[in-house]
């Protein structure tokens, strides 16, 4: 491992990680704010630093089609996209899990149009949350690099063999220069075994993939995929433990910050947790018993780990970066509420939507949310609070 961190744009760090993982195929279409990732990969391939086929496709639908094909042919496959690009992939995204093709995709999260907006929120990933992909969220630059390496290991594990999306906040992560510890190729190779596909297109033993599933088999094919996705959680945890042995950095499917004795827990995903930690430190200095529970793993939802992390809290403030139009809760809050519904003792759960389309999320927002979450009747509010909306 490099002794000293180097200053590096997070997008470049992600591309370097893909190179260190010896990806065989990169098929991608550039879209802001993912562009630097695929531009740099294209350079690495052109310069001979990454021995891979770089396929400059004509659309994201083609990108994902190519990725599924190359993964089925046994190639370690990577792509990256954002927002409208992810939306254009939609049809193919639902196929990869059932075909058990472990494509790794980094999503530089960006708002969906309309109005057209290039900035960060989570509406892109939430629009495909049911597609059957493993989904991870990174918080900072080092995590983005580490999770890229982990993504290949998790997705390609024969017990998983599912596509995986690694979500990094657009601009907030993708375009920031952060101190990065860059592992060596040898260190990554020692951690990441060669890709040995469980479903493979092979001339010597031909198979057909992408078949028709009639009413007699569709249900069972979907169930088989759900079983595989649900079972992948164990492999994710094992991969995190193994990563710690190799690189010293420890990750969990659900992360907690000063939450052990917290009366109010802020629930969130992604890079805003960095700002939230600063706010929590300030509030703790004033005697406020507040902490953070952050979902690193979004799919499969780590229900048991999440419940264990929030069990003791009086108030849960669930923060969403996406609005589910026509429904009174954001996507994370909807799920958290449903998981806790059957519990005899459950916290007061209130929901806050903020940081849409690149709107800044500040320390003051977390102070405000903590105050609101403690108010009597916070758990009975009929809908989410849209923090900072000008009405």
């Amino acid at each position: 491992m490099a002794a000293k961190p180097v200053g590096m744009e997070v997008s470049i760090a992600v591309s370097e990680a893909v190179m260190l993982c010896d990806a065989d195929v990169v098929a991608a279409y550039p879209i802001t704010p993912q562009t630097h990732i695929v531009e740099h990969l294209s350079e690495l391939v052109a310069d001979g630093k990454l021995d891979a086929a770089y396929i400059p496709v004509e659309s994201e639908q083609s990108a994902m089609s190519s990725c599924i094909g190359s993964s089925a042919a046994g190639a370690r496959t990577f792509t990256a996209t954002s927002s409208q690009g992810l939306a254009l992939m939609n049809e193919m995204l639902y196929r990869a899990p059932v075909l058990r093709t472990p494509v790794v995709m980094v999503i530089a999260n960006r708002a969906l149009s309309a109005p057209i907006n290039i900035w960060n929120d989570h509406s892109d990933i939430m629009s495909v949350r049911d597609a059957g992909w493993v989904a991870l969220f990174a918080e900072n630059g080092q995590e983005s690099l580490d999770m890229t390496i982990l993504s290949f290991r998790i997705a390609e594990d024969p017990r998983v063999s599912l596509p995986l999306s690694l979500n990094i906040d657009g601009f907030t992560l993708s375009h920031f220069i952060e101190p990065i510890l860059l592992p060596t190729r040898e260190e990554v190779r020692a951690f990441l075994p060669p890709f040995r596909p469980i479903v493979k297109l092979d001339i010597a033993d031909p198979i057909s993939i992408g078949l028709l599933g009639t009413p007699e088999s569709y249900t069972e094919a979907r169930k088989a995929t759900d079983d595989a996705l649900t079972a992948s959680k164990q492999v994710v945890s094992e991969a995190f433990a193994e990563f710690k042995k190799h690189f010293g950095r420890e990750y969990r499917v659900v992360e907690s910050y000063r939450a052990e004795d917290a009366e109010t827990i802020l629930v969130m995903m992604g890079s805003i947790a960095e700002t939230a930690m600063t706010a929590v430190d300030e509030m703790r200095d004033r005697g406020e018993k507040v902490g953070i529970v952050r979902l690193r793993l979004w799919r499969p939802f780590p229900v048991e780990e999440f419940k264990a992390a929030v069990r003791h809290a009086k108030n849960l403030a669930v923060i969403d970066r996406h609005m589910v139009l026509g429904v009174p809760d954001g996507p994370v809050a909807l799920e958290v509420k449903s998981f806790l519904y059957a519990d005899e003792v459950r916290p007061n759960i209130s929901n806050y939507v903020l940081g849409l389309g690149g709107r800044d999320v500040t320390r003051d927002d977390f102070w405000h949310i903590t105050e609101r979450a403690k108010q009597p009747g916070a758990g009975q509010r009929p809908r989410y609070e849209l923090v900072g909306v000008m009405e």
């Binding site: 479903v199 078949l211 007699e216 088999s217 088989a224």
Partner: protein, 99 residues
């Protein structure tokens, strides 16, 4: 392996990745989807091959220069009627499939 296409299967018996051996569609006899069946009047047939070319499922077989007509494989013909529509000699009639 191809049985998954139209037979009930348990989750644990499905091939991983929902795959099949190549050519398994041959085992998927779609003829029973048919409600109308093409009936050929060989006296009017000019052996032009339009039915063979237009058939979206490729079920027409060339019976050769001696027989001089094309015959649909009723194991796979879905009864769509494209052949009857396109036949320039109007020698194909779609008749009700009697069970």
């Amino acid at each position: 392996m191809a049985k998954q296409i139209d037979a009930l299967m348990k989750v644990r018996d499905l091939p991983v990745g929902f795959t099949a051996k190549p050519g398994s569609t041959l085992e998927f006899k779609t003829g029973d989807w048919r409600s109308m069946r093409p009936k050929l009047d060989r006296g009017k047939c000019s052996y032009c091959g339009f039915c063979y070319i237009y058939c979206p499922d490729g079920v027409y077989q060339d019976m050769g220069k001696d027989e001089k007509y094309y015959k649909p494989d009723l194991d796979y013909c879905k009864g769509c009627g494209v052949c009857a529509q396109e036949c320039p000699k109007h020698c194909i009639e779609m008749v009700l499939e009697e069970v």
